[in-house]
Symmetry: C2
Subunit: 378 residues, 2 copies
């Protein structure tokens, strides 16, 4: 089967008027969710797959974006499409921008109905469970009673876990890639440095920078530079950049001397040019808060015992943000809860970023798993 | 032997009028070095030990500082003193603040003779070899022809290596703790994020913030928060802080929620209150530049073959800033160069910070080694 592109995809917007009570107690009176769909829902409604995005992702999972010029491929276009591991010739695939995002769904840039101005930092902080509730309403809207699979990497994998626990009857398969059952102190520490960089940027203006016609680009840039260090492995950084100098010799100044500096600063500047600082804060907080075992006094197995889905858990050997050990915590809890689980630890030098990259072993594991999902759905 | 305190120690200042040509080509016409000494130089001048400090260290290695109220113990007071592993009853121990520092030696806060104003960011960037040359002149001044040992942890260990290569006849023992033969791309990346935090702080004013009556406290605070993450191990952070909350439940805001956030912010604020931002930049650059093997096309053994010292190399199992593997690179190169080397890999949960902490195995290794150094010196 030859993998093909979905071509140009047009995002859609679903408007919801029913208030959503968030984990924090705050109530969102109404909200929009921007989403894309690929493929066709079958008559039984049994072939729907939800793709959940990670920290900086969005609804544009696959195909070419109609909005951008030049048109950009979706963030998981190597995984989702006709003839690809998540095959849109067989599945009806849904990607959405989560609440609090900055790609069209209701978030800090949206107007706060109480003030008529952008929410800014007044947009309520959300938890993964809030996204899952909002996604469930989108599923209702789309006529999806049960997902054949809920799939995600990193923060997206946490949404897949949460779905399996919160709506056990609505998920037949949960695919959890490069994730963790909760963030460690070190994970939270990195997130807090990133947040402090944004919060203390004088251009942040308490989160109401839109009104000032500026963005906290310095803070966002630092946050992204730091993020990139944790997405890559030490080894792949050494291989790609090592101690390679930009010039012939040391310059004894603060401009770029080593190639790794050039790479990080470029990534930081690019990100600061398009991503919303308040959304970055919201996403990192959702990561920090995720800890479903807390509902059972820390017993992850007890919480996962509520699930009825089959699980596929995948980790990458060089991922030190969410190491294989963190995935094995999930697998061990599933086994203790007597839940069906397949686990693949992919040998990869690409660190946390590996979940987005094309790797034959990884893609073969996904393809084989989704063959079975398709057979169940048929 | 009971370990005792040195009591109050008064620092001294050595003034040098002979110009020092730095690795960058810049020339420092004159400079001061602030130093402390403990113990007495013997008649043969054979019992002198130089202690080299790391990124944020200084001359106050041991004893109680006369300047501070309340008096503070030196940064290596658990290692250096009467009856301690580096025994000041037997050795004449010297600690100094390196050039570019912010504790009294000539650095960015000193007056630039050409302008009559503080150097600020115009203070030339220094390399480890520059410090070693300056330290050699201090040794001359103190009547020390040959060091019984040059000792340091982290960036201090790099100075000990550099001494053994640059002044082989003046070092009988080089003690290299928690160091590396060069920084990896990941190490440089962390340093560059810290530097960018400082350089882009609006209060940095291109390094001339002294004139503006401000300090780039935001940037320095972020740099230190990030530094602390890399000094601690994932495990010790998990053990000390884990996911412990400051309050009873999540607060859904940006004030401290998790104890780890409180710890890091406190450490960052404290550091920003006393450390100089320009010195921080200088120290991280010296780390990035260190790579003695570069002089021999990357062949570390060829460079270390110039040394005549005996080596003691020590690493700590949970140190991920300079992991045991990085110390083994040094050991392997020394073995290839047929240099005498003892190596100890200390089992410790305390990450990079372990080199400053009291650990029985670590201190016993040091004590035993310095017993032999003392015997040689007698």
């Amino acid at each position: 089967m030859t993998a093909r592109s979905l071509g140009v995809v047009t995002p859609q917007t679903a408007h919801f008027d029913e208030p959503l009570t968030l984990r924090s107690g705050a109530i969102l009176e109404r909200y929009d969710l921007v989403y894309e769909t690929y493929g066709t829902l079958n008559a039984e409604g049994s072939n729907a797959i939800l793709i959940c995005h990670a920290l900086s992702g969005n609804h544009h999972v696959a195909g070419l974006s109609v909005a951008d010029d030049p048109k950009t491929a979706g963030w998981w276009d190597n995984m989702v499409g006709p003839g690809k591991p998540i095959d849109t010739d067989r599945f009806f695939v849904v990607g959405l921008n989560n609440l609090g995002g900055c790609h069209g769904s209701t978030g800090p840039q949206s107007l706060n109905p109480k003030t008529g101005k952008p929410w800014g930092a007044d947009f309520p902080l959300v938890a993964v469970i809030d996204w899952v509730h909002a996604q469930a309403r989108l599923a209702d809207r789309l006529g999806v009673k049960v997902w054949a699979a809920v799939v995600g990497g990193s923060l997206g994998g946490m949404q897949a876990m949460r779905w399996s626990i919160t709506y056990p009857k609505r998920v037949r398969n949960a695919v959890v890639v490069a994730a963790a059952p909760y963030l460690t102190a070190q994970n939270i520490a990195f997130n807090d440095v990133a947040r402090q960089a944004i919060l203390t940027d004088p251009d942040f203006h308490g989160g109401h920078f839109y009104e000032h016609g500026v963005v906290p680009a310095r803070g966002l840039r630092l946050a992204r530079m730091l993020g990139h260090i944790t997405y890559l492995s030490d080894d792949v950084m050494a291989e790609k950049f090592g101690r390679m100098l930009r010039g012939d010799d040391l310059k004894f100044g603060f401009d770029v001397e080593f190639e790794i500096e050039s790479y990080l600063r470029y990534q930081g500047d690019k990100f600061a040019g398009y991503f919303d600082a308040n959304t970055y804060l919201i996403m990192t907080k959702a990561l920090d808060y995720f800890d479903p075992a807390r509902e059972a006094g820390g017993d992850l197995a007890a919480v996962l015992a509520r699930a009825t889905a089959r699980f596929l858990v995948i980790s990458f050997t060089s991922d030190w943000r969410f190491s294989p050990g963190r995935s094995r915590e999930i697998v061990d809890a599933l086994l203790a809860a007597r839940r069906p689980v397949a686990y693949a630890e992919i040998d990869s030098p690409n660190g946390h970023d590996a979940f987005l990259m094309t790797d034959a072993h990884y893609h073969n594991v996904m393809r084989a798993y989704f063959e079975r999902v398709a057979a169940e759905a048929a």
